[in-house]
Symmetry: C2
């Protein structure tokens, strides 16, 4: 009994310190004075150094050797602690430090290169990051597949081969749907006008409330790139405002409410344990996506939102709720992943997945990356990339070493598809509530079936228990074909 108690008490403090580090990151992106950058970097380094020491503390190995968990939750906690300890212990301290130093620099180099449309300024640094990440993957994989070792950090138990099979099954139907839409005569009208920041923020708060965001355990601020931050009793969201495009603010907000509500919905008994957080990036994204897309961009909620926005902005250039529903679901050609609609988004992910898998395996070198990106984009989207900032330089992920992260976005969409089908079957009257600006019946179902479990179940098991079936792309594809077929009269 002593070993398990000591282990969990030690972990409790580590979880608290890790939560502090996350709060510090929030501060930096929202309220920190701009002159405090160097100081914050030293503060973050100090707390990360404490965290690294704790995660590789040899006492964890000793406790694990004799730990005797007394419940399912304790057993799963021990598994997760062991997994992190083994991953962290396999990476030499020298490599961990080099990666930390390089990725803190390389993000700035990437940002400058993107601003200057100059990939050659960034690719040598990316190559260094890639070499270190391959070294890290080799240390963790211990003879296994390098990409799988990286992917497992974001999506426990998932392999590159499984993702590849999933994407192969999805691609033909997505490509076909995309082509039909772009060939269709229907062209939903874009929203135009000037939409003052203050009104957008007020509407965003109303939408967050409609999605049952718990303001007593959260808050909303403005950030350059929207994110959510924190867990248990304190999960905050951020949004951004573009005064020509209020959907940016509103749908970013609903998306982040999905992420934050997942963290806030976890069983409070799991706070300060490894179960007290979203179980994987894919499941996390399933929550943000089902809030934003299946609900937020659904016909019922769009009808409610149309009236709220018409009132707030004194009329819109969109005639009625049906036209508005088509507007929030417009499909147009575009280079940028983060601006993509529900149909094309997954195609953006698939090309990144294939490219990064080849980079990690060594089949593709960074020297050939720009050509490979551009050729693949032309093949998948039928348009030539006009400039690197719209191509290979658009995403921050690789610059900070996030290889294996991209596929979890599409996996989140697949999970959201499965969950949405099950939820529609299980809860009658969802659309009536959403049409009245009330997502709470849906949120309650998600909380009960997904969110409250935190890290207790493995990701795939969690979704399968919630939906009563295997994880499959079929519900997502059927949903997209039905929804966009109707909007575009296909």
């Amino acid at each position: 009994m002593t070993a398990i108690n000591d282990l969990l008490a030690f972990q409790r403090q580590t979880e608290a310190l890790s939560s502090v580090a996350e709060r510090l990151g929030w501060d930096q992106e929202t309220v920190m004075p701009r002159g405090a950058v160097e100081q914050r970097s030293e503060e973050m380094a100090a707390i990360e150094s404490v965290l690294h020491e704790r995660r590789t503390d040899p006492r964890i190995g000793e406790w694990l050797d004799v730990a005797d968990p007394q419940s399912e939750a304790e057993a799963r906690s021990v598994d997760l602690i062991a997994r992190d300890f083994n991953r962290a212990s396999r990476v030499p301290a020298r490599l961990a430090q080099e990666l930390a130093r390089l990725t803190s620099l390389s993000q700035g180099i990437w940002a400058d290169a993107r601003a200057n449309d100059a990939p050659d300024d960034f690719l040598p640094t990316l190559d260094q990051v890639l070499m270190l990440k391959r070294e890290e993957a080799a240390a963790i994989a211990d003879g296994g597949d390098l990409y799988d070792a990286l992917l497992d950090d974001y999506e426990q138990g998932m392999t590159g081969a499984e993702i590849a099979a999933l994407f192969d099954a999805m691609r033909p139907r997505l490509v076909a749907l995309r082509e039909k839409i772009l060939d269709a005569d229907t062209r939903p009208q874009p929203l135009t006008g000037h939409f003052p920041q203050e009104t957008q923020i007020r509407l965003a708060r109303i939408c967050a409330t409609a999605f049952d965001y718990d303001w007593t355990r959260g808050r909303m601020d403005i950030a350059v790139h929207p994110f959510s931050s924190g867990r248990w009793q304190d999960s905050r969201i951020t949004t951004r405002v573009v005064e020509t495009d209020p959907f940016n603010c509103i749908y970013s907000t609903i998306h982040e409410v999905g992420h934050s509500s997942y963290e806030l919905g976890i069983d409070p008994d799991y706070a300060f344990t490894p179960l007290g957080r979203g179980v994987s990036m894919g499941v996390h994204e399933s929550q943000s996506r089902i809030y934003e897309n299946q609900m937020g961009r659904g016909r019922a909620f769009a009808g409610w939102l149309f009236h709220r926005m018409s009132d707030a902005f004194d009329g819109l250039n969109i005639a009625d709720p049906d036209a508005f529903y088509a507007t929030v679901n417009r499909v147009t050609p575009g280079f940028i992943r983060t601006e993509a609609d529900e149909v094309q988004y997954n195609l953006h992910i698939m090309m990144r997945f294939d490219l990064e898998r080849d980079l990690i395996s060594g089949r593709l070198s960074t020297d050939d990356l720009v050509d490979a990106w551009n050729a693949r984009f032309l093949r998948d989207f039928g348009v030539a990339v006009d400039r690197p900032a719209n191509g290979v330089l658009q995403d921050v992920h690789w610059s900070v070493g996030l290889f294996g992260y991209f596929p979890t976005y599409a996996l989140g969409n697949v999970f959201a598809g499965c969950l949405n089908r099950a939820m529609q079957d299980a809860v009658p009257g969802l659309d009536d509530a959403l049409a009245a600006g009330d997502a709470s019946p849906a949120v309650e179902w998600l909380r009960e079936n997904v969110q409250r479990h935190g890290g207790l179940k493995r990701p795939r098991a969690l979704i399968e228990d919630a939906t009563g079936g295997d994880v499959s792309p079929e519900p997502l594809l059927a949903y997209l074909e039905q929804k966009f077929g109707q909007i575009y009269g296909l």
Copy 2:
């Protein structure tokens, strides 16, 4: 060379973590969702536990044994690290934990007792705090005076006997001045009206800018009790708003700008070292007070402020700058220390100093504290305390174990008096600049002579070097007699 470098590198990380803890405290008082209290308490406990372990790390003792400082700054850093290490090491871990647990509880018990005007609900807890603080003082004092051991934590090198002598020298002239003022025929008019929050905040920002607050390394938020937080590149202020009393907001802001500017004014080379913070509570208070009182409530700045406030609030019930100057310096009878004017403030401190010294020495028991307080207040102020919330329950300090802290407020006033006289002699045209809403010539003198040195010099030496004379209450008393004599026509 290795020992000193290792010691300073270790300290650097400790300083960074301590800065993180302070930032977390700021978050709690300003932006934290109200439902996150328990979580924050566990996060704070985790980081304080890491800090306590580092402050008593046995390696510090080993490094100190062989440390060979290479400069005056390094030598002083080593002294300060040794001082903290010795203090922390002398306190048994069991006692430190009991004190931490008790004082986190007792603050709430005090707040409830004050709200209910029920001293008996609080005094048993205060007695427990007192017993633990005496035990702590005995451990640190190692045979020396208990009160001195506590005082030294806030004001290095100062003793209770020195404070007592200083206060004895001040009391008669303060009492005489107070009586003459209250007997005078002059009665400055109070400011009355309704002053909207938004306008007050805008004015407060203008005042902070007038006092050269560096907004690139700071920010201002609203808090229940105004405070400043942080150092080096990030020192934030808070203020409060009472819509019937804009002076509360404005002078709180100027006061906190004094504290924050001290931290921001320290030589950047001292960041992340023990020299990188205000050297004592007394010196800290000297900066907040000279900003707020000698400058902020001086005739020159008051004239400028009169016009700013008249414009912002569309006229005031005060006729002209001279009357306004008298209004911001009104002396009226009152029970509450934090609301006291410059003349009576120090009398509030003197009675607390005598009472807490007797509590620590055992000459006074908590059973007799209410009677002792009320008797002393009647003697010093000529008025009977009407209820405990206006008497012994008014201050938070003792509930959280801050014995030895009160006298540093009056010491700050004494230091401010000395600094003000030297500054007036050294810098011509201060009042002309203040009359134009520009405190920067004064701030520059303070930065050069006080703030930039951080912890390099001991408190008294710092003030004496800055003023070219001994620390004495004479300049403060002469300033008060001259200023209030003129306002009240004495």
